[in-house]
C-alpha cells in the first residue's frame, strides 16, 4: 500500500466506561473494512473491550486514550497509547491479575483475556510514562494445498530476484510440502499470507530461478528488531546444486540488507551446514512442544559491519559467563560490573510480555525497575504456566545498567542464559530461557 492514510484509522477519546461501546464498535468496523473476517473482527473487538475496560478502570481512568487501527494487510493491529502514572504502572504487567488477592475478580484479567483473543500482544514504553499496548489479529488464510510437489531439476544459469505473487506462493508451497526438518514460522503454511506480508513490507522474499523459470530455492527475511534481520533459509529445492543455490540466495540477501538499518543477520531456525561457516554460532535455545519433546535450536549470526565495540553492564553472577562468551565471539566489550549497594528501590516493576500463542512462546522484557523484581518474575512464571505457555524467554538489554540487577533474580528463578545477540538493544541482548525441568 502506498498511502499510509489509507491504512490507518485513529480514534481519540477519554478512558471512561461510557465510551466503551464507541471503542469496540470502531475497532470491529475498521477490522472488517481492513479485510478481517467476521469471527476475527469480533475477537479483536472482544480484546478491545477487555483492554479498554481495564485501562479505564485500573490504569489511566479519565485520561486521553489514542486508539489507532492499522491495516497491515495480513493482519490488523490495534494500538492503544496512554499516559500512566508511576503508581499505576504495575497494573500493566500482564501477570498483574495473578497477584490479586481475589483471583475471581475478572476486572483484573483484562490483559489476560485480551491476549487470548488475539495472535500477538506487546507492551512498550514509548517515552517516559507513555505506554503503547498493541494487539494483532491475523486474517484467515487457506492452508497450503495438499499437493505433491515434483522435484526440481535445475537447468542452466540461475538468477536471483524478487518473485511476483505466484512465485512467492510457489516458493512457500515448496517449503511447506518439502521434506526439510528445518523449523519454520507458522505462516509458511499459508502462501497467501506470505504474499500479503511481502506486500505490506513485513518481510522480503528472494528466489533463485533457472533458465526455464523453475524455482530452485528461496529465502525469506524480515526485521526482527530495529537493527537485526531474521533470515529463514535459504531453502533449496534441487540438492544437486545445493551449495550454488544457497550461496547465491544468501549473497543476494546480504546485498539487499547491508545498506539498510540492519547491523546483523540472525538465523534461529537452521541453515545448510555449508553456510554455517559464514555465520557465528551464538548458542542454543530449546524448543519445547506440548508433548514434552525438546529440540535444540542453534542461533547463527553475522555482523554486517565492523564491530564498533560497546559497554555492557553485568551483575557479578554473570560476569564470568559474559567474559567467556565475548572472548569466544571475539566481540570487543567493556564489561562493567554493577551491584546493589544498599540503595532504596521503590515502586512496581513492569515487564512487557510478547505472547505468541501459536508457538507457545512468551518473551518477557523489563520496561521499568522496581522493588518487586523477584515477586514480579514469579508472578509472570505462574501466569504463563497457567496459560499453557511452555517456551518462556527473558531478554535483558546489557546496555541498560539497571537491568543487570535482574540477572540474579532470573538465575534464582531457574532461568539460564542461552545466548547473546549483538546490538539487538541499546547494546547486546542477553536471552535467558526458563528451564522447564525445574518445578
Amino acid at each position: 500500500m502506498s498511502n499510509d492514510q489509507d491504512r490507518i484509522v485513529t480514534l481519540q477519546l477519554n478512558a471512561q466506561m461510557s465510551f466503551l461501546p464507541i471503542a469496540v464498535q470502531c475497532v470491529e468496523t475498521v477490522a472488517k473494512a481492513f479485510g478481517l473476517g467476521r469471527e476475527e473482527s469480533l475477537k479483536l473487538g472482544l480484546a478491545t473491550e477487555e483492554i479498554f475496560s481495564y485501562l479505564s478502570g485500573k490504569v489511566c481512568r479519565g485520561q486521553i486514550l489514542d486508539i489507532r487501527c492499522v491495516n497491515c494487510i495480513s493482519y490488523v493491529r490495534v494500538e492503544f497509547r496512554f499516559p500512566v502514572s508511576v503508581l499505576d504502572m504495575g497494573a500493566l504487567n500482564i501477570a498483574a491479575a495473578v497477584s490479586c488477592e481475589n483471583e475471581d475478580d475478572m476486572a483484573q484479567m483484562g490483559l489476560v483475556l485480551a491476549s487470548r483473543s488475539v495472535n500477538r500482544l506487546y507492551i512498550s514504553e514509548e517515552r517516559k510514562n507513555h505506554i503503547c499496548l498493541k494487539i494483532e489479529k491475523d486474517k484467515h488464510y487457506p492452508p497450503v494445498q495438499e499437493i505433491t510437489v515434483a522435484p526440481v531439476a535445475v537447468k542452466g544459469a540461475l538468477t536471483v530476484g524478487t518473485p511476483d505473487a505466484d512465485g512467492i506462493k510457489l516458493y512457500v508451497t515448496r517449503v511447506a510440502r518439502g521434506s526439510s526438518h528445518m523449523p519454520r514460522p507458522h505462516y509458511f503454511q499459508y502462501p497467501g499470507q506470505v504474499v500479503d506480508m511481502v506486500a505490506a513490507g513485513d518481510c522480503q522474499v528472494l528466489t533463485a530461478t533457472d533458465s526455464r523459470g523453475e524455482c530452485a530455492g528461496g529465502v525469506l527475511f524480515h526485521f526482527l528488531k530495529a537493527s537485526i534481520i531474521e533470515v529463514f533459509g535459504p531453502h533449496v529445492f534441487d540438492p544437486a546444486r545445493e551449495e550454488e543455490i544457497a550461496g547465491m540466495l544468501l549473497d543476494a540477501c546480504i546485498a539487499g540488507t547491508v545498506r539498510t538499518k540492519a547491523i546483523g543477520l540472525l538465523n534461529l531456525t537452521g541453515m545448510p551446514s555449508f553456510l554455517q561457516s559464514q555465520f557465528e554460532h551464538l548458542g542454543l535455545m530449546k524448543n519445547y512442544s506440548h508433548d514434552g519433546e525438546a529440540v535444540d535450536r542453534s542461533a547463527f549470526y553475522r555482523l554486517l559491519h565492523e564491530d564498533p565495540g560497546c559497554r555492557v553492564f553485568t551483575d557479578l553472577v554473570l560476569k564470568d559467563y559474559l567474559q567467556r562468551e565475548y572472548k569466544r565471539l571475539f566481540l570487543a566489550r567493556e564489561i562493567r560490573e554493577v551491584c546493589d549497594q544498599g540503595e532504596t528501590h521503590t515502586g512496581a516493576s513492569i515487564f512487557s510480555a510478547d505472547l505468541y500463542r501459536e508457538r507457545s512462546v512468551a518473551i518477557l522484557n523489563p520496561l521499568w525497575p522496581g522493588a518487586d523484581l523477584d515477586a514480579n518474575v514469579n508472578n509472570h512464571l505462574r501466569f504463563l504456566k497457567e496459560e499453557g505457555i511452555i517456551n518462556i524467554f527473558f531478554t535483558l538489554d546489557l546496555g541498560v545498567s539497571w537491568q543487570a540487577s535482574l540477572m540474579t533474580v532470573l538465575m534464582n528463578n531457574h532461568f539460564q542464559p542461552a545466548l547473546i545477540i549483538p546490538f539487538a538493544g541499546q547494546a547486546d541482548l542477553l536471552i535467558f530461557q526458563y528451564d522447564r525441568t525445574e518445578p
Binding site: 545498506r259 539498510t260 561457516s277 555482523l303 559491519h305 564498533p308 565495540g309 570487543a332
Partner: protein, 369 residues
C-alpha cells in the same frame, strides 16, 4: 516538555537511513581489542604520509593562522590545479574531501523523482548521499568485477540525472579503458551528468587507463573527482576536488558551502601538487612490492584475490569477513570487511609497508588455522 514529533518533522528517507558509524579512534580500539599496536590497513592510506613539502607546510603552520578564515573557495589551489590541467580555475571546485563534492553534485542536479545510477560493489557514498536526499539509486551489478557499461546505459531513463563511475573501482581495482569510457560518454550523448571518480588516479600504471581531465573539453557533461587523501597522504586534512565544464561547475557551485576547506589543507594540497621529490614514484614502488608479496602469500594459502589498480586488494576468506575483522583486530591488524561493499566473506587490505604486510599475513594464518 513537549517532544518534537520526528515522524512528522523528518522525511521518511532520512528516518529510514542508517547513519554510518565510523571506527572509534585508534587508542579506543586498542583498548577495546586489547592490542598494543595497530596496523591500519583499512582505509587505503599512504604509509609514506604526505610528500616532504606538504609535511613541511604542516610542521610550519603558524598557530595564529588558526584564527584566520581560509580562502573561502580555495583560490590559490584552484589556480594551481587549473594550471596543471590547462583548464580555467572556475572549472574547479574544492571540497572538504571528495565526499563533500559528491554531495554538491547530487544537490545540484537531483530532486525528488530523479535517479542516479551507480554499481552495487563500489564506493558507498554515492548511494548514501542519494538515499538520504530522497533520490532513487539504481544499483547495477558489476560484471566480472567491472562496472557494466551496457547495463548502466540500459538503466538510464528520463529521470536519470547523474551516473557515478569509480575508475579505478574501489574495491575491485578494475577500470574502464580510454575506449570504454569514451564510448560510454558518446552513448550518453550529454543527456546526463557522468561523474568519473578518480580517487586512485595516481596509483594507476596501466597504459590504457584514461585521464578524465583530458576529456573535459570534449564532454561538457563529464565531471572528474580527485582527492588528496590517497596518493598525497593528507586524508586527515580532508580535501578533494571536482573539475568539469565551466557552465556545469557554475551550477554545482550554487550548492557548495564556502569556507568548508581549512587553510592548512589548502596549503598542504598546493605543496602536494608541487612535489618534485618523487613521492608518487616511491609510493608506486611500495605498492607494487606489497602487491606482489601479498598476492603470492594469499595464493600460497589458497585464498583467491581480486587485485587490480590502486593501493589495495581483496582477499576471499573461507568464512565471515566481519568475524575475521574482529579476530584480526585482536592481533593488532585493522582491515576492511567487504560485506558493506556487498562482497560478503571478502576483506580489503591496504597495500602498505612490508612490515605491515608480513604482520597481516602472520595474523591471517593464525586466525585461519
Amino acid at each position: 516538555m513537549i517532544e518534537p514529533n520526528l515522524d512528522y518533522l523528518v522525511p521518511a528517507y532520512v528516518r529510514e537511513f542508517e547513519p554510518y558509524i565510523p571506527s572509534k579512534p585508534d587508542p579506543e580500539l586498542q583498548k577495546l581489542y586489547g592490542c598494543n599496536h595497530l596496523y591500519r590497513l583499512n582505509n587505503n592510506e599512504n604509509p609514506l604520509g604526505p610528500p616532504p613539502g606538504a609535511q613541511e607546510v604542516i610542521r610550519r603552520f603558524p598557530p595564529p593562522r588558526g584564527a584566520i578564515y581560509p580562502s573561502g573557495d580555495s583560490y590559490y589551489l584552484r589556480r594551481e590545479i587549473a594550471a596543471c590541467y590547462g583548464i580555467d580555475p572556475d572549472q574547479v571546485l574544492v571540497g572538504n574531501g571528495a565526499n563533500e563534492v559528491i554531495t554538491f553534485v547530487i544537490k545540484a542536479f537531483c530532486e525528488q523523482g530523479d535517479n542516479i545510477i551507480t554499481a552495487d560493489k563500489t564506493f558507498a557514498v554515492y548511494e548514501w548521499v542519494a538515499v538520504f536526499s530522497g533520490i532513487e539509486t539504481r544499483i547495477i551489478p558489476l560484471k566480472h568485477e567491472r562496472f557494466d557499461d551496457r547495463a548502466m546505459l540500459a538503466a538510464i531513463d528520463e529521470a536519470t540525472k547523474v551516473i557515478f563511475i569509480c575508475n579505478p573501482n574501489n574495491p575491485t581495482g578494475t577500470y574502464w579503458s580510454w575506449d570504454t569510457l569514451k564510448n560510454f560518454l558518446d552513448e550518453v550523448g550529454g543527456k546526463q551528468i557522468v561523474v568519473v571518480d578518480e580517487a586512485y588516479f595516481e596509483f594507476v600504471e596501466a597504459g590504457d587507463y584514461p585521464d578524465g581531465m583530458s576529456l573535459l573539453n570534449d564532454y561538457p557533461n563529464l565531471i572528474v573527482f580527485r582527492t588528496f587523501s590517497k596518493m598525497y597522504g593528507i586524508a586527515g586534512l580532508r580535501i578533494g576536488y571536482l573539475a568539469g565544464d565551466l557552465k556545469v561547475v557554475d551550477m554545482i557551485r550554487r550548492t557548495c558551502v564556502v569556507y568548508s576547506v581549512n587553510g592548512l589543507a589548502q596549503e598542504a594540497a598546493l605543496a602536494c601538487l608541487r612535489d618534485e621529490t618523487g613521492h608518487i614514484r616511491r609510493t608506486r614502488e611500495l605498492v607494487r612490492e606489497s602487491k606482489v608479496f601479498l598476492s603470492a602469500e594469499m595464493a600460497a594459502m589458497g585464498l583467491p584475490v581480486i587485485v587490480g589498480e590502486g593501493n589495495y586488494l581483496i582477499v576471499k576468506l573461507p568464512g565471515s569477513d566481519t568475524l575475521a575483522y574482529r579476530k584480526l583486530m585482536h592481533e593488532g591488524i585493522m582491515i576492511r570487511p567487504m560485506t558493506g561493499f556487498r562482497y560478503p566473506n571478502h576483506i580489503r587490505v591496504t597495500l602498505a609497508r612490508m612490515e605491515a604486510m608480513k604482520a597481516f599475513v602472520a595474523a591471517l594464518k593464525k586466525i585461519l588455522a
